[in-house]
Symmetry: C2
Subunit: 152 residues, 2 copies
DNA sequence: ATTGAAACTGCAACATT
DNA sequence: AATGTTGCAGTTTCAAT
């Protein structure tokens, strides 16, 4: 953990919205020279605060109009069950994220599909056959809003 | 929606892992010239398939070690209730994502906090006081695995 | 698809405060 | 310790072939 000043936070806020911003453009906005802004970005990257840069793909543009969150309760728990479940879930192409959670469910899966008919196929042939899967609860995503979140 | 060939998919797969890859490096890997790779990236961006580039922040490095998924059932529904709930939830700094869903819950919130004591504060003073919030169910995240997902 | 060229960016070295 | 200036290699972003 690292302590950030107001300038660092402004940089993170800007890069969260658009990681393609150049150090020069960032410096211009914050009143820094290009190398000064660049050095701060490098420092944030090397310290691990910035852990990567990813492109965001538009699922709809790719033909995947349906996103569903699944809560999964395992029927059998234990070291082997968790590993096996995670390995099998990772192998399903439509699964975008696997979250191991504590609470009413054991896992939370984010699944995408072309449409509801396609989702039913994934659910029946892939999800319900996952090793150890007991109760499964589904929530179809209608819309999603991503927020900046706290920076320290 | 746009149709992609195998090369486009390889580009998306590579950029999903690391958006900082240059067009030259991408071309080298795929057997394309630098401008050819660059043109494909631009085409994918202009068509909306690539909808943005974001930095990934390490929550733990920022001092937020706890991530909780909340399922929220509204007590009162209707146009106004949804708008009001979303507006109030957006104003909570610890809320990272607001997902409007169909199913057992009406909303799914991704919330981060410094620790469990901090999370309790957020839950009691911010979440439970959200307008219209009825039942709230929580799942504490233990680990998360993000997968490439299907590309068409 | 390749080449060439202008503008910009990333990155290092050095000086300043 | 953080900044600014200079300078160069590499990249982006075009146009031309």
């Amino acid at each position: 953990m690292m302590d950030l000043d107001e300038t660092d936070r402004a940089i993170l806020r800007a890069l969260r919205a658009d990681a393609a911003l150049s150090a020069g453009e960032l410096g211009r906005r914050l009143g820094l020279s290009q190398p000064a802004a660049w050095r701060r970005i490098r420092r944030l990257t090397e310290s691990g605060v910035i852990s990567g840069r990813r492109v965001v793909l538009d699922r709809e543009a790719l033909g995947f109009g349906v996103t569903v969150f699944l809560g999964v309760k395992l029927a059998t728990k234990g070291r082997v069950s968790l590993d096996e479940f995670e390995r099998a879930a990772s192998a399903i192409p439509e699964v975008q994220a696997i979250e191991h959670v504590l609470g009413l469910f054991d896992y939370r899966l984010k699944v995408v599909a072309r449409d509801l008919a396609d989702f039913e196929r994934v659910l029946r042939r892939r999800i319900m056959t996952l090793p150890g899967a007991g109760n499964v609860e589904a929530n179809v995503m209608l819309s999603e809003e991503r927020l900046p979140g706290p920076l320290g």
